[in-house]
Amino acid sequence: MTESVTTTASTSAGTGKPFLELKNLQVHFPTDDGLVKAVNGLSFTLERGKTLGIVGESGSGKSVSSLAIMGLHKGSRAKVGGEIWLDGAELVGMSVPEIRRLRGQQVAMIFQDPLSAMHPFYRVGDQLVEAYRVHNEVPKSVARKRAIDLLDRVGIPSPDKRFFDYPHQFSGGMRQRAMIAMALMCDPQLLIADEPTTALDVTVQAQILDLMMDLQKEFNSAIVIITHDLGVVAQMAQDVVVMYGGRVVEAGPVREIFYRPEMPYTWGLLGSIPRVNRGGDHRLKSIRGTPPSLINLPKGCPFQPRCDYQQHVEGHSCTGEVPDLLQIGTEDHRVRCHIETGQRKKLFTEQIKPNL
């Protein structure tokens, strides 16, 4: 199964290969209850200077995939399969010492809860300095200067003083800024942000998202932003991957996903969110049922137990065969559903769109 979503931008300089490419990534965890199939064949590509949004319900495998890119499953019980190509190097098969050199340097990560993601016993500044000095053999004073510069850059007031604070002395927004500064210490080309604003208030979230976009322009880095908030994706990403049950169920440019979605789960997702810019006298289109168990994934389409559109399928069995992720149209829009494209388009315009 080779399925991929390619950003429309040109590939990275000369090599002809995309900057980041995941091919059929699988992550499984053996547990006492059985094998947890957290990620089952995730593929996408991403270019420098672009942002990819990954959306999906909790437990759909978003965080697990991002940890796989960082190589953070190595040394745990997790079984990782498939390929991850970053700037010409394959990461899944890489040894721990090799990938450790990339961590922080080429790929950096921002986590959801900045309070628990920083060590409570060390000064914020020292944690930044540490991130720099792992990869750069420089005296402390140089690293400290860089840390203060970056704290300033991410908007921490009087950074030379706040350098000496401990994480608990920062507010939630400041902590997340400090986390971003820490991630940027070594100028990584790829930034993975796992729910970077979920723990923050809207006004602070807006500040952090702006900051990330500004920094991206400045450093031309690639960003993978993982979230369950479709608004954040709409604001940040050029491309979107919708995950369900550890699989990509739909992927494509952001406007395709928001204005011409074709997968019933994406329809459900878009229908179930209330909109801040619209009056609210309509009923929300909730998706019935609950997300699947990753130990006993449904046999056919992962969304099948909750899908209301199975009667439109012809010539396939939703319960028997996993649909392939197939490209539709000219743009890089890919959908995993047994319903015929024409029929899906018709369903969307006639039944879904009027209610969104």
């Binding site: 922080g104 628990s116 993601a117 409570p120 991130a131 792992v134 990869h135 401990y166 608990h168 820490m182």
Partner: protein, 334 residues
């Protein structure tokens, strides 16, 4: 920090005072008649009266309490004995033993070094082995080494100290004769030299350390496993830090924090006497002194030992709190 320290020390004084008051008044609820104990075999009403006068047993309770406290607080101690035969009991005065008339404080300060060396040596051993085994077990969770150390810990916790101590004594001293029978009851390092000193203490150390080492193994293992699952450990790895740095700088420091607390309290408790171990190896430390005093109904001695032990426990509490504040900035700054 300075103000915090002063506040804590003041609190300590209050707590010690409360403990001393409680011990003193408990002392008076005990049915034994102290005068009878002191005058011994040839008692008659007259001698009892003299004894009562000498020790002030006729005075109202509150006056006696005042006298007792004076001995503890006044820099010159207090006088003991009836008029004419007064003798000074120097500070800190816990009174004189009913059994042999020696000032209790003298006996305590004689007995303390043995207990001190016993506790310090054992603590070093159990801290080292407990933390090391616990750490290895946590890092090899589920593997053979983990199971071995968990098994050892279970063995250590469930093996009664008294059985273990006598077993060691029998095996190494009596049977194998690797260690000569201890000839000094209280080996001072300067008098006997390091070899004899070690020979004297090694078995008691192991005996005392066993249970603690087992408990600390379990504790370190559990803490370390929890800590290594923390988000900030994942962050440390994501920065590209080596596994050694991740484990020792980021992991172990957090995992050991609660252990510092427990270690302080355990050590503080032991400095007041390790009863069973001292008994087994006939070490004339505070534990043994306490037993002898209790068996002999020697109330001033019992009170002295209880108060002395309480001082260590209370001080250990302060030290632990201060250490905690030093280690954890969240405590320090709030």
């Amino acid at each position: 920090m300075g103000r915090y320290l002063i506040r804590r020390l003041l609190q300590t004084v209050v707590i010690l005072w409360v403990i001393s008051a409680i011990t003193f008044f408990l002392f008076w609820i005990t049915p034994a008649n102290p005068a009878l104990l002191i005058c011994g075999k040839n008692c008659n009403t007259e001698t009892i009266a003299t004894v009562n006068a000498t020790f002030g047993f006729d005075d109202p309770l509150i006056v006696q309490y005042g006298t007792y406290m004076k001995g503890l607080v006044s820099p010159t101690g207090r006088d003991i004995g009836s008029e004419g035969s007064e003798r000074n009991c120097a500070w800190p005065c816990f009174g004189e033993s009913y059994q042999n008339g020696i000032p209790v404080w003298d006996s305590i300060s004689d007995a303390f070094p043995a207990t001190f060396w016993l506790a310090i040596g054992a603590a070093t051993i159990w801290l080292f082995f407990g933390v090391m085994l616990g750490l290895l077990a946590a890092l090899r969770k589920g593997k053979a080494l983990d199971k071995l150390s968990v098994g050892l810990a279970l063995f250590g916790v469930s093996f009664p100290t008294i059985v273990f101590g006598y077993l060691l004594l029998f095996l190494f001293i009596v049977k194998l004769k690797w260690i000569p029978f201890p000839d000094t009851a209280n080996a001072a390092l300067f008098e006997v030299g390091p070899v004899k000193w070690l020979q004297f203490y090694i078995l008691p150390w192991i005996t005392l350390a066993l249970v603690f080492a087992a408990l600390y193994t379990r504790l370190t293992r559990a803490n370390m496993i929890d800590t290594m699952n923390e988000d900030y450990i994942r962050t440390a790895r994501a920065k590209g830090l080596g596994e050694g740095t991740v484990i020792f700088k980021h992991g172990l420091r957090s995992a050991l924090t609660p252990i510092v607390t427990i270690f302080g309290l355990d050590l503080g408790g032991l400095l007041g006497g390790a009863v069973i171990t001292e008994q087994i190896f006939s070490i004339t430390g505070l534990g043994k002194f306490a037993i002898d005093s209790v068996l002999g109904n020697d109330l001033p001695a019992i009170m002295g030992v209880v108060l002395f032990a309480a001082i260590f426990i209370v001080l250990a509490n302060v030290v632990v709190d201060v250490l905690y504040a030093v280690i954890d900035p969240r405590v320090r700054l709030s």
